[in-house]
Amino acid sequence: MRFLFKTGYAQDTRLFPFGGTGRFWAGLALYAAILVALAHYAPVALNATHWLAVAIVYAVVFGAVLLRQNADGEGGHAAFWYGLLGVGALSAPFVLDLYFLSQITFVYVYAIAGVGLILLLGMCGQISLGHAAFMACGAYTAGLLQAQGFDLLVTLPAAILLSAALGVVIGLPALRMTGIYLAFATYAFAFIVEEVLARWDGLTGGNMGFVLSDPSILGYTFDSEQKMYYLAMALFVLTLLAGLNIRRSSTGRAFMAIRDSETAAEAMGVNLAVYKTTAFAISAGMAGLAGAVYAHLLFFISPEGFTIFLSINLLVLAVIGGLASMHGAVFGAAFIVVLPQLISLTKDSLPPVVGQLPGLESGIFGLVIILFVIFEPMGIHGRWMKIKTYFQLFPLYKRGTFKRQKSYMVSEKNR
């Protein structure tokens, strides 16, 4: 925070140390409420096994919350909310209908790719217009290996590794160029990959695409929406943890040094070639994982699913979600999934003259992007931070707290 906003102010002047016993009991009540809701609204009759699973989840979450709290009851509040979120996410398949469940599954998938892109763009400062190619690589690897009879334990690592290798290749231009040059070098690579996928009929099925079957691990088949939901969720959590750990590691610090100034980073002994390539490899690997899960969710892949529009969508995800934090990946993914649904929902309730206009969706999509960048340049995560700080400092919040220093000239000519 401090070095993002250059104030540190918001963090250090917390007036009320949150946490403590009152909050603990309130939390307990909330968890109990979820339990009651679960018992009431679950679409299937819950049997003993279900309840055992729920009990284990609760035990794990409470254990985590209690462990994180120190003697003063501080430090637990973040873990508390994440615990709540975790319980909610785990119990979602019991409560939500299949439509919403599959939408959330897509949020997880996009968020996996989003974590990768935020690592690359937000932490390392390297732009990529080629992430669709990484997703395509992951999707096709997983699909083709599955057709050979391998299960997820083979296909997923293969998808990640192959995409990461492709990421190294596509990242090579990053060693010698930045900004728009890099963006279009990656785009050129991605376009060529897309064209190869479309033309290599014998392997990929060309423009006709090909069909996947249910994925399985060691004989256990993920043959329902609920099972796919848990699979995507588990992979997302693993990716997120990996991303957070990279951020804390020396690798992550090297990324941030490169982002802030390549010259300074190099002077400090950061090997630019190694770390830029690593950033591309990690990001591409995550995109490849997302692509593999995406392919299994859709059951059908073709080159048309992985065009420049997907790359742009992923960039929009990262920028709208907020590049400063991994939270942005989730916010952005939710945005990407929800907005088209929301538009098509409102379309039906509008008068037909307006609702049937062609291009309404892409128009609103573009408008939202513009408004976000103008009014909320830190993305949804930035807005979230502001709201949080407002309540933490209440009633002492100052409007200028998050004001960006506006520079007169941002120049890429001198980096």
Partner: protein, 329 residues
């Protein structure tokens, strides 16, 4: 390492030039027959014409980037709006070609200036990604709005010009007058821009603001107004490109998207920020595309531009005419 790459670069550039000029030489020595040469020249001419359009769009992108460091992904949409305006004035209102064309370019200029004031000005000073996102989003909005306007919509339209249908015969070579018009008017426009930037006060002021904004401001140049004018100029060039492209292809809402993804490689090929570079880059992309489409198997036409871009960038990361500025600490 860099010396080796530099040698490879010169070797490749030289062999590309040799390959480009080899058919006439082969013909001179009697290895290639006249028909083969004609086919080759035909491709070069149509490639040059397409390349001119890429070059003009790339030129607009470069003008804006040089001055404001804004990477404008909506340049194709500015071109598309110009083409639709031309269609409106010429075909729908029947103003006649020349008046309609002038009105379309003027409309494009106004549209560009309005874009700068409404959309770009609020985000100047923000990170580059943010501005890229804004122009991308703006492109989406413009496409959507154009498709909603009654009379424009999602249909495709043809634009008739005084040149349409007629051919120009140069010996065995048949050049459609539309192509000839594209090439000639691009030459004229580039000459005009050269004179403008070299000899007029406004042109010099624009050059100065793009070189160093702060210094230009201290010298009394109204930098903000100059920016608006540069957006106007760039959009005017884009509208001109739309006017040239419309008779060759058709006018529709998606016409800008395809061109802008060729114009960016063109601008980058020439060294982003270099005006002659944008022209040369556009011509290279156009000609390579045409030749690859004719002589290579199907599928290479679309990829050719990007393969050339990658090869050039890997060997010469700053582009052909780009200049390297190293940060001094």
């Amino acid at each position: 390492m860099d010396r080796v790459l530099g040698r490879i670069w010169w070797l490749l550039a030289a062999s590309a030039v040799i390959a480009f000029f080899s058919p006439p030489v082969l013909w001179l020595f009697g290895v290639m027959d006249g028909a083969g040469l004609t086919l080759y020249l035909q491709q070069v001419v149509s490639g040059t014409a397409n390349g001119c359009v890429y070059a003009l769009v790339a030129l607009g992108i470069v003008l804006i980037y040089k001055a404001t460091e804004t990477i404008n992904f909506a340049q194709g949409e500015l071109m598309m709006v110009g083409a639709f305006l031309a269609f409106t004035f010429i075909t729908m209102y029947g103003f006649g070609f020349w008046i309609g064309a002038a009105l379309a370019v003027a409309g494009g200029v106004l549209f560009g200036m309005a874009t700068d004031r409404a959309i770009i000005r609020p985000v100047v000073g923000q990170p580059v990604f943010a501005i890229v996102m804004v122009t991308l989003g703006f492109g989406f909005v413009v496409r959507a709005v154009v498709s909603m306007i009654p009379g424009w919509g999602t249909d495709t339209y043809a634009l008739a010009t005084p040149f349409s249908g007629a051919d120009l015969r140069l010996g065995a070579l048949v050049v459609s007058q539309d192509y000839a018009a594209i090439i000639v008017s691009t030459l004229v426009l580039v000459a005009f821009l050269f004179v403008f930037f070299r000899y007029t006060r406004l042109g010099v002021a624009m050059e100065a603001s793009s070189e160093n904004q702060l210094a230009a401001y201290y010298m009394g140049i109204p930098v903000k107004r100059v920016y608006t004018l540069i957006w106007g100029l760039s959009a005017g060039v884009a509208a001109f490109a739309g006017l040239l492209l419309a008779p060759v292809t058709f006018i529709h809402t998606q016409m800008g998207f395809g061109v802008v993804f060729k114009a960016f490689p063109a601008a980058i090929l020439g060294g982003f920020g270099s005006i002659p570079g944008a022209i040369v880059g556009g011509l290279i992309i156009g000609i390579v595309e045409a030749l690859a489409g004719f002589y290579l198997p199907e599928g290479f036409k679309d990829v050719a531009a990007y393969v050339v871009l990658l090869v050039v960038l890997l060997l010469k990361p700053e582009g052909i005419f780009g200049r390297v500025v190293v940060k001094k600490v």
